[in-house]
Amino acid sequence: MNSTLAAVGMALTVLVTIGLAAYSSRLARTTGDFYVASRSVPAWWNASAISGEYLSAASFLGVAGLIMAGGADAVWFPVGYAVGYVLLLALVAAPLRRSGAYTLPDFCEARLRSSKVRLIASALVVLIGWLYVLPQLQGAGLALQILLDTPTWVGGLLVSITVLVVIVGGGMRSVTLVQGFQYWLKVVAIMVPVLFLLAAWRADASPSALTEAPPVFDDRTTVRIENPITVKVSDPITLEVEGAVDAVAVDGPVTWQIGEHTVAAGSTLIFPQGATVPHLSSVPQLTGVEWGQPLQSGQEHTLYRTFALMFALFLGTMGLPHVLVRFYTNPDGRAARRTALVVIGLVGLFYLAPSVYGMLGRLYSPELLLTGRTDAVVLLLPQAAVGGVAGQWLTALVAAGAAAAFLATATGLTVTVAGVLSQDIVSKRVRNPIVSFRVAAAAAVVVPLLLGLVAESLPLARAVSLAFAVAAATFSPLLLLGIWWPKLTDVGAAAGLLLGGVMATVAIGISTLIPDLTGWPGALLSQPAAWAMPAALFTMVVVSLRTAHRITPGVDRIMIRLHTPEAVGVQRTWTARGLR
C-alpha cells in the first residue's frame, strides 16, 4: 500500500493540533484558564469539544471492528456510548454544574465535606483515566503499524509526546479549541468515506452481507500474518503458504482439513477466490444471517452479556471523569443541559457510520476475521472497497480522523488525571500551580505508556468498556445519590466507592488474565458492571442509613445550591476547595 498519503494525513492532524494549542495558549493566562477555560465557552462549541474528547479510538476504530466480528449484538456499543448522555443529561448535568466544583473529587468534597472521600475519588479518577488511555495508545500503535509498518510502540509514544506538548502549552482552553476541531475532523473523516464506500458497493451490484454462508474471499487474497495465530477451518481449503503452518515450514500449496490450524508469525497465506474465510479461533464464525440477528453468536449467556454491557455503558458515561470536567466550562446549569443535548446529537451523528464499515468489511476485507485485527477495518476498507487514487485519499482521511481520535481522548484524560494528581499530590510539594500541573501531566502520560508496553491488547471498544464498568460501579452511584438523596453520608459514599471499585477492578483483572473462563464465571467477570454497580449503590444506601449521625452538616444548603436555578436569588455560599 502507498502509505505516504496516510502518513501525511496523520502528520497534518498532529501539526494542526499543536498549532491550535500554541495559538490559544497565548490566551491562557490565569490558573483558571489552565483548568477549565474560564467557563467562557459557548454551548455548541463546548459540546463539540466534549464529543471530540469522547469519540476515542474505541469509537473511531473499535466499534466498526466489533460490529464486523460480532454483528447485531455489537450495536450496543455505539448505542450505549450515546445513550449514556441521556442519563447524564437527565440526572446529572445541571446539578453537577451548579455544584461549582471543577473535578469529581471536588464534587465529593463539596457534597460530603470529607477529604477522605475526596482522596478515594482522586484515586479512582486516576485509575479510570489510565484504563481509558491505555487502549488509545494501543490503537495508535495498531494504526501506525497497519498504515506505516512501524513497531507497535511507536504510535503510543508519538501520541504521548503530542498530548504533552498540547497540555503543557496551554491547559484546558487550548484543549477546548483543539477538541472542538477534532470532533468535526472525525465526523468528516468517517462520513465522507461512507459515501464513497456505499457508492462502490452499489457499483458492485450491492452484494448482501446477510448471506446463508460465512464470509468468503471475493478475490484471490494474500494475507501477511504478523503475530502467531490459531485459526478454525470449517470447510476443507487449499491455499498457498510461504512460512510455517501447524509447526511445519512450507513453501507451496497446503490443504487444511476441518479443525484448528496454527500459523507462525511472518507467514504469507494466499487464498483462492471464493474460499470460505477461516476465522481466528477466538472470533465466532457466523453466517451473514446469524451476523445480522441478535443473540445468534453462540456465545454463552449472550442475554446477560448484552444487558450487562448496556448497564456499564449507560451508567458509566456519567462517571467518566474527563467528560464531567467539561461540564464545568458551561456558564450555568441550563447551559450544561443544552450542552449535553447537543452532545447527544453530535455523538449520534457519528455513530451512524461504524455499522456501514462493519457490514462492508465482511464483504471486502474478510481477511481481518482471519487475523483477528477487525479494529483495522476503518483504516483498510477504503483501499479494499474503493481502491485506486480515491482509495488512497480516503485512507489518508480516515488516518487523519484516527489520529484525532487518539489525540483528543488521550489529551482530555491526561488533563483530567493531571488535574487530580496536581491538586492532590504534586501541589503539596510544588508551590507554583502551573508548574505543578505540568509535572502532573508528565506523570499522567508516562504511566499508561509504560503499561502499554506490557499489557495484552484487547479489542479497543472492549478495552474501553472496562473503564466504563469501573466508572459505572463507582462514580455513577455516588453522583446519583449525592445529587438526589440528602441522606448520603461520607462513610456510606466511601464504602460504596471502595467496594464498587475493588469489585469491578478485580473482575476485570481476572477476566483479562484468564480470558478462557467459560460459563457464568466468565460472563459475570467479563461484564462486572451489572452486579458491581447495584452492590455499590446498595452499600452506599445501607451504610449511610446506619451512619445517619454523619449526614453532611448543612446538606440543605448544598441541595439548594445543586438544584435551584441561578436566576433565583438565594445564597449559594459554598465553593470548591482552594478555588474562587
Binding site: A72, V75, W76, V79, A82, V83, Y85, V86, L87, L89, A90, L91, A94, S206, S208, L210, G292, Q293, P294, L295, L303, T306, F307, M310, F314, R334, R337, R338, A340, L341, I344, G345, G348, L349, Y351, L352, S355, W484, D556, R557, M559, I560, H563, T564, P565, A567, V568, G569, V570, Q571
Partner: protein, 126 residues
C-alpha cells in the same frame, strides 16, 4: 357600668388598614435561605419534580431498549421483519435510535426549564 337607658356614645371601630400598609411578606428566597419548613417544602417539591422528570426521561429511553433483545431473542417472527432490504433490528438500533434519543433529550430540556421557571416565579413572584 352604664345605665341601660343611657345610649352609649357612638364610636368608630376600625382595624389597621390592611389594604394600604400590608406587612411586607417574607420572600420565599429568604425562607429557603433560612432553611425554614416553608423553604424546605418549596425546595423539596422542585427536587422531586426534577427527579421524576429525569427518571421518566431515562425510562422512556431505556425501557424500549431493554425490550429489544428480549423481543428479538424470543419472538423469531420479529427477526424476519425487514424495512426495504434492511432487517428491522438494524433500522431501529443502527439508525432510528439516535434521532429518537435526541428527541427525548430535547423534550427533557424543555420540561426541566419549565419546572425551574415555575419554581422561579413561585419564589420570586410574591
Amino acid at each position: 357600668m352604664t345605665k341601660p337607658e343611657q345610649r352609649p356614645k357612638r364610636v368608630v371601630i376600625t382595624g389597621p388598614r390592611r389594604d394600604v400598609r400590608r406587612r411586607p411578606s417574607r420572600p420565599v428566597t429568604d425562607e429557603i435561605d433560612d432553611q425554614t419548613r416553608v423553604g424546605q417544602v418549596y425546595l423539596r417539591s422542585l427536587i422531586r419534580a426534577q427527579l421524576l422528570l429525569g427518571l421518566s426521561t431515562v425510562a422512556l429511553v431505556v425501557v424500549p431498549l431493554i425490550a429489544m433483545p428480549l423481543l428479538f431473542g424470543f419472538v423469531p417472527r420479529v427477526r424476519e421483519l425487514q424495512v426495504g432490504p434492511m432487517p428491522l433490528w438494524w433500522v431501529l438500533l443502527g439508525i432510528l435510535v439516535y434521532p429518537a434519543i435526541l428527541g427525548v433529550g430535547w423534550w427533557y430540556v424543555r420540561q426541566a426549564d419549565r419546572n425551574e421557571a415555575q419554581f422561579t416565579d413561585l419564589v420570586e413572584g410574591r
